[in-house]
């Protein structure tokens, strides 16, 4: 059932086995996976079914340091969460993304891709995607050819694209789930702690509505699924999980930057595979990325590049187009336009990149967050080197040339560099409480019954948009919780 929390009698105490806080991609996936079981699940959502400025304002915070989006425009605070505003780009992390890589400080997941594969396959259905197949060769065909890169350093990959809006897709299912009750306009503002000997857990969540109503939720297990900034914010504001000063640190996004222009060696080169194109019920979009071998040998972070807008050629480039044609394809037509690459980069985990609390408070009295997004020399070196490798691969294949727009210094980035609104890492997962906020199951270290879901648990980000992994991890957590309650 769906309920309006504002209509609950004041000081009500709701009870359930599992309380999921946040009805976005993670929370709804979790609630669906737990529906039809023999226990009660509460799903609390801060917003309503529609966008609401007052609820949205609870996201507001400060941005300090590197330019970033205003925090209240990064997310959507309503049933369905930020699936209301995403582009639907899906692909799994690569196997190497899970490894502890000695050239990436603080890298390594507590499990590998194999452990997540069954959940990725199930996540495909949740996100209404095609079957789990992300090999570019599986989807390419004569009319949609791959670039003929005979390279052991650069390969093609493919995103499946379906902007599934969870609020619309799953509202009815949640409404009809016999054991799931979802409360709208219900904001968790704090927790009461239960201490029993050495065991410390959450006794109840304190919940407030913007109209002044307030109630509590008592549950055997709580799951925080409010997003990469809000998860950290609520833990920091509640003084939970931060015994090693890790909550809010290691904030990562995927730096997005146009840092390369591609000039084909001939006008006839087909790039259609790399533009979004329909495939069954979804779209596909090809990209270029580095092979695992190149990432190891060159000590690179993850990266992928999409085609962006085309541009007419300035004079030197017109001349160059003619030269390239003669070098690579004599007799062909020279290209008349260049095309820019938009790069999605992996950001190395960085403890100085973080979410902290400010002295400002929101309408419910919870401290507002401040985001300090910081990139490092590791990120820059990797991005620069990756482009050098891409430039060589494109030239060696005779498909064209790359113009690198990065400066060579360690920290300089093009001014237009931005994030992807992918908030990751602030409650990172690690089996060692001194290195992670949550354990490999997603449970907050030091607390017996508080779990975190969503991209805040990612120890590293790869260069894959996070939603498919968020959903896969939520399904994995659901299996764990079902097992716990058995």
């Amino acid at each position: 059932m769906l309920h309006d929390a504002r209509s609950l009698p004041a000081a009500t105490e709701l009870e359930a086995q599992i309380c999921v806080i946040g009805a976005g991609a993670a929370g709804i996936s979790l609630a669906r996976a737990l529906s039809g079981q023999g226990f009660r699940v509460l799903l609390l959502e801060s917003g309503g079914l529609e966008a609401d400025p007052a609820s949205q304002d609870l996201y507001r915070g400060r941005v300090y340091g590197r330019n970033y989006f205003q925090l209240d425009v990064c997310r959507t605070r309503r049933f369905g969460g930020s699936t209301h505003c995403w582009h639907g780009m899906c692909r799994p992390l690569d196997a190497i993304d899970f490894e502890a890589r000695d050239w990436v400080p603080h890298s390594g997941w507590p499990f590998g891709l194999d452990a997540l594969l069954p959940y990725y396959e199930r996540a495909q259905e949740v996100l209404r995607l095609e079957p789990f197949d992300y090999e570019a060769t599986s989807w390419a065909r004569e009319a949609l050819p791959l670039l003929p890169l005979a390279s052991d350093e650069i390969r093609s990959g493919v995103f499946q694209v379906a902007a599934s809006r969870f609020g619309e897709l799953y509202r009815e299912e949640i409404e009809q789930a016999p054991n799931v009750d979802s409360f709208l306009f219900a904001n968790v503002v704090g927790f009461d702690i239960d201490e029993r000997g050495d065991e410390r857990g959450i006794a109840r969540a304190r919940v407030a509505c913007l109209d002044g109503n307030a109630f509590t939720v008592k549950a055997r297990t709580f799951v925080l699924a409010t997003g990469g900034i809000e998860n950290a914010r609520l833990l920091l504001a509640s003084g939970l999980g931060n015994q090693h000063d890790l909550v809010g640190r290691y904030f990562m996004d995927h730096p997005h930057v146009v840092a390369g222009a591609f000039l084909p060696s001939q006008a006839e080169l087909s790039l259609r595979f790399y533009r979004a194109h329909p495939e069954g019920r979804i779209e596909l979009a090809g990209y270029l990325t580095t092979t695992d071998a190149a990432r190891r040998s060159e000590q690179l972070l993850g990266w992928c590049a999409f085609l962006a807008q085309e541009a007419p050629l300035p004079e030197l480039e017109q001349r160059l187009a003619s030269v390239l044609r003669e070098m690579d394809h004599p007799g062909a037509q020279p290209a008349g336009r260049a095309v820019f690459f938009t790069n999605e980069l992996e950001q190395a985990p960085n403890p100085a990149s973080r979410v902290v609390l400010t002295d400002l408070k929101d309408a419910l009295g919870v401290p507002r967050p401040q985001l300090e997004w910081r990139l490092s020399a590791v990120d820059k070196r990797s991005a620069r080197r990756t482009h050098e490798i891409l430039g060589r691969a494109l030239g060696a294949a005779g498909v064209g040339r790359l113009q690198i727009m990065f400066s060579e210094d360690e920290h300089g980035w093009p001014p237009e560099l931005g994030g992807g609104r992918h908030h990751m890492g602030t409650t990172r997962m690690h089996s060692d409480p001194k290195q992670g906020v949550v354990d490999p199951d997603g449970r907050v270290h030091g607390l017996s019954n508080l779990y975190v879901a969503g991209s805040s648990v990612f120890p590293t980000s790869g260069a894959a948009n996070p939603t498919l992994t968020i959903v896969a991890l939520a399904l994995r957590l659901a299996d764990h919780l079902r097992e716990q309650l058995r």
Binding site: L263, E315, L320, G395
Partner: protein, 135 residues
């Protein structure tokens, strides 16, 4: 470009009639080395574009503005130079295929240079620069 280099170019063009006739390598009076130069300069059909790219490169790398150095850089040594000299007179098409092969292998071997950020093979840039030197 130095005065002595310009004089040498002038003499060379006088001897070989470079600008007017594409395959002049076999003309009497051209040394094997000069024949190679002629054949290489004839690589591009669109010479104006190659010359413009070469001039931009020489402007950014003035130390390369030396025809001997460019030719040496292109051939990479005496062995290939001799082979190319022979092909220049006997089979220019095979010479051009070898140039293209070298150009492709430049990328794989990391023998690349940048011009306004463009990652280009040493071969293609030096070939253009050689043409630009002719003015």
């Amino acid at each position: 470009m130095t005065g002595s280099m310009r004089r040498r170019e002038f003499l060379f063009e006088f001897l070989c009639g470079l600008a007017a006739v594409p395959v002049l390598a076999a003309l009497p009076g051209c040394s094997r080395r000069e024949s190679l130069r002629v054949a290489l300069l004839d690589f591009f059909a669109d010479r104006d574009s190659a010359r413009a790219v070469g001039a931009a490169y020489l402007e950014s790398a003035p130390e390369e503005d030396d025809d001997e150095r460019l030719l040496r850089g292109l051939t990479g040594g005496r062995v290939r130079e001799a082979e190319w000299e022979a092909l220049a007179t006997s089979d220019p098409a095979a010479l051009y295929e070898q140039v293209r092969e070298l150009h492709r292998s430049d990328f794989a071997a990391g023998r690349t240079l940048q011009l306004s950020g463009w990652v280009l093979s040493e071969t293609e840039l030096r070939l253009c620069a050689l043409l630009a030197q002719m003015g």
